[in-house]
């Protein structure tokens, strides 16, 4: 069955960027305010799912040729690496480091290693969600 969904496809392409940028915003906001890698990751995954709904699995896979299983593995390594790093410094596991930096353009910014851990979580969440959805979607 072929349906005419030009409007849906056009809107999805636009909305995808809005959702994706919002997910990055939520991810960055995560340290002091509600948000973080988990929600951010879910939002990013939902943006991709929206594209899958509007187009189909094959088109989207061609658009993002990403192996989501490898992405999950990279996310895990990043998260564990950040958590384990303090061990080499003689501090307890999971100790995080932070400081304030004067960056050009951003001004005074606080940078945390917790953000790297969260980036790992972000990748894992996107990877796992997309793996699940792809495996179910391929099953028709």
């Amino acid at each position: 069955m072929k349906t005419n969904d030009v409007i849906l496809q056009f809107t999805a392409k636009l909305v995808f960027f809005i959702i994706f940028l919002f997910s990055v915003h939520i991810f960055m906001a995560g340290h002091y305010t509600p948000g973080g890698g988990f929600v951010g990751g879910l939002l990013a995954a939902s943006a991709i799912v929206l594209l899958i709904l509007a187009f189909d699995l094959k088109t989207v896979q061609a658009g993002f040729p990403i192996n989501y299983r490898i992405m999950t593995a990279i996310g895990l390594v990043l998260a564990l690496g950040t958590a384990a790093f303090p061990m080499f410094d003689g501090k307890p596991f999971f100790t995080h480091y932070f400081d304030y930096f004067d960056l050009p353009f951003f001004g005074k910014t606080s940078l945390h290693t917790a953000m790297l851990f969260d980036a790992g979580v972000f990748l894992v969440v996107v990877g796992v969600t997309m793996t699940i959805i792809q495996s179910i979607g391929e099953d028709e």
């Binding site: 895990l76 564990l80 596991f93 995080h96």
Partner: protein, 496 residues
């Protein structure tokens, strides 16, 4: 004493699993990396064992938070002994898997699944935070879901439904119980909970929570009357996975019962420990009935898990030094010997092509070494001296007499006879008698590959029994730490 190294037996399998995820189709890569990871983890665990033996319990509280607020990981004698045992027997099971699990499963995240399950189990043994215990339970349950459905045979899926449903229910109950406990004592660190419970002198509500915990962990440990799911769920799993689950998963439940019932809920023993004792005796009796009732190799060994859980928990319920030391001895022995027996059973089924005892026979002529190994494992399971089951059982029986429960001890002695009968029946049916027409599914070379790790594991259990003198100081240190919760509490709260 703050020491990050105690995390290595958890982190190494975790990291190995991640590395394995990158190339799942390459079987050689999967096998090599898994073995390297396991050996590294075993070395680190033995190193920690020595440190704990010399310096006492080691702790690390995550993120440099002060003790009751951060999540504490603590390696005391009992934890580290169980971690060592877990890693050692997994090493042999993985080795056995090379020739027994099948290339299809190896390509589909079998080894990462095992590594994640190790992360969860070692984490559960090591954590000092009751909610974190739940998290690690979930980690190894998730991985066990993968392993139990992996392959997707019809029988297997039927069994895994039981497994999934029962574990989801018990996990939900676990969180609820932790929430109850938190609402009463206002803390999640087990050492801090122990202090708060002591200060409150365990009012009735805490006894209720203790019973709820017994239900939650009892479901995992398969005690009476909550063991009904175990035979159904395990029966259809492939031999290496069955060996892993049979040796490890119920024991994590047993560990959790031991930990909570020696550290936290120790103020109303006339009720809680009395109940634990009665349940453990009933567990033994029903396990014995099951072990004698079947002619299926796998089911007989599965019901022997239930019996062993009863024996260990009886030792714990006596709350004296003989009982706890005996429980530790027996716990380690049972993990090793169950892994060996399930693998031996797996080889038996592979050789004869059937699990039904009535259709086997006369294997002694063609597989003499296999027969004798099986006999040694069977004697060891029943606790015949000087094999490994003996000392643990002896101490547990002694503790029953000491604590004035002679009849219970006699039940345990009688259960040993039933255990012996049940496994000797396998031996008699399979190895004696006329040689049967069998449909052997494995070649001689595969048989040798499968048998070597099992033979070595049985040798390890024999060494554990004969060399009891050498392990005795470790076991008595573990028993002593269980009897005096203050050692654990001081290690956590003493801080830096």
């Amino acid at each position: 004493m703050h020491n990050n190294l105690l995390l290595l037996p958890i982190i190494i399998p975790f990291f190995t699993a991640m590395v394995l995820l990158f190339a799942r189709k390459n079987v050689m890569y999967q096998r090599t990396v898994t073995m390297i990871g396991l050996i590294a983890a075993i070395v680190s665990a033995f190193y920690m064992l020595n440190i704990v033996y010399v310096d006492g319990p080691q702790t690390v509280t995550f993120g440099s938070w002060p003790a009751p607020f951060g999540i504490t990981m603590i390696s005391d004698m009992m934890s580290i002994l169980l971690v060592v045992t877990t890693l050692v027997l997994t090493f042999f099971i993985v080795w056995y898997s090379f020739s027994a699990i099948g290339i299809e499963r190896e390509k589909f995240y079998y080894y990462p699944g095992i590594m994640f399950i190790l992360t969860g189990i070692n984490g559960a043994f090591t954590t000092g935070d009751i909610f974190n215990l739940f998290v690690f339970f979930e980690v190894f349950l998730m991985s066990s879901y993968l392993l139990i459905v992996l392959g997707g045979e019809k029988q297997q899926l039927q069994g895994s439904i039981y497994y999934l449903v029962i574990n989801i229910i018990s996990s939900a109950l676990f969180v609820i119980t932790v929430a109850f406990l938190y609402s009463v004592v206002g803390t999640l660190s087990m050492a801090d909970i122990a202090l708060k419970v002591a200060a409150l002198e365990q009012p009735a509500i805490l006894t209720v929570i203790a019973v709820l915990f017994l239900v939650v962990f009892g479901l995992k440990a398969a005690i009476f009357p909550l063991f009904f799911w175990l035979p159904k769920a395990y029966k259809s799993a492939p031999a290496p996975i069955l060996a892993l689950f049979g040796a490890l998963l119920t024991k994590v439940g047993v560990y959790a019962i031991i930990r909570t019932y020696t550290l936290i809920f120790v103020h109303d023993q006339s009720f809680t420990h009395e109940m634990l004792m009665i349940l453990s005796i009933l567990t033994i009796i029903f396990g014995c009935i099951g072990a004698l009732a079947y002619f299926d190799v796998t089911l007989i060994i599965i019901y022997n898990i239930v019996i062993a859980v009863g024996v260990i928990l009886f030792g714990v319920s006596q709350m004296n030094s003989a009982g706890l030391e005996g429980a530790m001895y027996y716990l380690v022995h049972d993990m090793l010997i169950k892994a060996a027996l399930f693998m031996l059973g797996g080889i038996l089924i592979a050789i004869t092509g059937t699990a039904n005892l009535r259709k086997m026979g006369g294997l002694m002529k063609r597989y003499p070494l296999f027969g004798w190994t099986f006999l040694i494992a069977a004697f060891s399971l029943a606790g015949i001296p000087p094999l490994s089951g003996f000392i643990g059982k002896l101490l547990i029986v002694e503790s029953g007499f000491e604590a004035n429960n002679p009849w219970m001890s006699i039940v345990i002695l009688l259960s040993s006879l039933v255990v012996l009968l049940s496994v000797i029946r396998i031996f008699i049916y399979a190895f004696w008698g006329e040689e049967q027409q069998t449909t052997t599914s494995i070649s001689q070379a595969t048989y040798t590959q499968q048998f070597t790790p099992v033979l070595l594991l049985v040798a390890v259990t024999v060494a554990y029994g004969v060399g009891a003198e050498l392990v005795a100081p470790y076991m008595s240190a573990a028993g002593e730490a269980l009897l005096n919760p203050s050692i654990y509490i001081d290690a956590v709260m003493g801080g830096e």
